[in-house]
């Protein structure tokens, strides 16, 4: 695709801008910022990936993955600011997700150990883990705030913090995993996943594209479960102090 052709896709940006202006939605500034950022970020990533793929250096691969984890952590932690140490908790979760998934993929030779496979797959799995962490933290903090009475009831009957918060924890883990599971139920019927579509457009064999997509969706399931459960179990103890009291603000 030439740059002239690519520039025509800006029509897709003009449509929401026009609608936002006409309906006074006030989204023009955010739309422009998002457009400019996505162009700059993707162009930079494109050139960086080209460089990393050509060098095939393990150092650059690790550096790319580290950057992804740092960016995802900084983004996800905003939703759990009231939870002590949330930054390292999310970072640790993302590292574990990356190590477990890549360990299985590379250790069992499911994909070749090259930058061309490791980096895009890491991006998808870390990105999903970030979204799962955000969904979990959003739900968990809201659940805890709205059910302080029930939490204090269980504590006051002699329950431990883990018993007191068990319902809110499991509800939040389930709620954050539901979108991943539900979207997989309709995959291929309602939506064609981005990676698969990209490969097909790029000229790859559709069956091979599907095989890689299956690999990714299975990986996403592990990612979803690991992310919600790890962030949850690392977070809930910090909502209580050593006297088993729930802290004032969550």
């Amino acid at each position: 695709m030439s740059y002239t052709t690519l520039s025509l896709t800006l029509i897709f940006v003009l449509i929401p801008l026009f609608l936002s202006k006409t309906l006074k939605l006030g989204l023009e500034k955010d739309t422009i910022i998002a457009t400019v950022r996505s162009i700059i970020q993707l162009l930079i990533v494109g050139y960086v990936l080209k460089f990393v793929f050509e060098t095939e250096s393990i150092v650059y691969i690790l550096l790319m993955i580290t950057l992804m984890i740092v960016a995802a952590t900084l983004n996800a932690r905003k939703k759990g600011k009231a939870i002590k140490g949330i930054t390292w908790k999310i970072a640790l979760t993302l590292i574990v997700v990356e190590v477990v998934t890549q360990g299985i993929l590379l250790g069992l030779h499911i994909v070749p150990a090259t930058a061309q496979y490791i980096i895009p797959i890491s991006g998808m799995l870390i990105g999903n883990s970030m979204v799962l962490s955000i969904l979990f933290l959003n739900r968990f903090t809201a659940e805890v705030e709205s059910s302080r009475d029930q939490i204090e009831l269980i504590l006051s009957l002699g329950g431990t913090p883990k018993q007191a918060i068990h319902k809110q924890l499991t509800n939040s883990i389930k709620a954050s995993m539901i979108p991943t599971i539900e979207s997989q139920k309709t995959i291929g019927l309602v939506q064609l996943p981005g990676m698969m579509s990209g490969q097909i457009i790029g000229g790859a064999d559709p069956v091979q594209a599907v095989q890689f997509q299956i690999l990714i969706i299975f990986g996403l399931l592990t990612t979803a479960a690991l992310s919600s459960i790890m962030v949850g179990f690392l977070s809930y103890p910090t909502l209580f102090n050593e006297r088993m009291q729930i802290l004032k603000s969550v």
């Binding site: 009475d149 006051s156 009957l157 002699g158």
Partner: protein
């Protein structure tokens, strides 16, 4: 006269603050074994905070709370809370049957609660066996509060903290709950601290009364301190509440 009673809970210069507010300011006083002490005072006086300091749901910012002459922090929290039970105004009910709610104190200790025991506790609070398998969420306010009292009492607490447990109930249920609490107090010699906005109720049920205002203990003593008190704040509070 008060010095002849055994002290169960003692507050010594207790302050409690949040980041923005001072909730309790230098509160000192004692609660006596087997007696009912009513806590009265306007909203925001710090009454509920004081109650939650008694069973370790909160800890003082400064000062000390003693339970049976030992600092509260020397008790393991879960043991302390089973021994100092609290019944909340909202009577929080968990989804499930009345039996599941009553069994909660046992479930938390990984023990099975015998149904015969559950029926005994239901009968004690004036509810019959037919309630056992009813959905707790379908109960009336008075019935919920009775289940809530029974559930707290299953731990056999020596102290019972009651946070405005009749404020949302109709007069008939108020009378039922008052009689139930008095029965528990007399039969089991349970020490009780009872927050109420109702001065007449404080008079009916209380042996002792603490009057609180703006986080301070204005007055404490036998319940008749509420009447013929020289303190203008207390006079105003009592007459104001009675007028309402």
């Amino acid at each position: 006269m008060t010095q002849f009673h055994e002290t169960v809970i003692k507050f010594e210069n207790v302050c409690y603050e949040t980041e923005q507010l001072s909730i309790l300011n230098n509160v000192s006083g004692e609660f006596y074994k087997g007696k009912i002490t009513t806590l009265v005072g306007p909203s925001g006086a710090g009454k509920t905070t004081l109650l939650k300091l008694c069973n370790g749901l909160y800890s003082p910012t400064s000062g000390e709370v003693y339970i049976q002459n030992k600092p509260i922090n020397s008790y393991e929290p879960t043991t302390l809370r089973r021994n100092v039970g609290i019944v909340l105004q909202s009577a929080p009910i968990l989804k499930g049957t009345v039996y599941e709610n009553l069994a909660l104190p046992y479930t938390l200790q990984n023990k099975k609660f015998p149904k015969t025991e559950a029926i005994k506790f239901l009968n004690n609070v004036g509810l019959d066996e037919s309630f056992l398998h009813r959905h707790a969420e379908d109960l009336s306010g008075g019935q919920r509060q009775k289940v809530s009292i029974a559930r707290t009492f299953i731990n056999h607490p020596e102290v019972l903290l009651l946070d405005e447990i009749t404020s949302a109930l109709d007069p008939s249920s108020v009378n039922d709950i008052e009689q139930l609490i008095l029965k528990i107090n007399q039969k089991y010699q349970v020490t009780m601290i009872w927050i109420t906005h109702n001065i007449e109720q404080a008079k009916r049920v209380g042996d002792y009364t603490w009057v609180m205002m703006n986080g301070q203990l204005l007055e404490s003593g036998e319940t008749n301190i509420l009447w013929n008190n020289s303190n203008k704040y207390i006079q105003n509070f009592v007459s104001g509440v009675q007028e309402v």
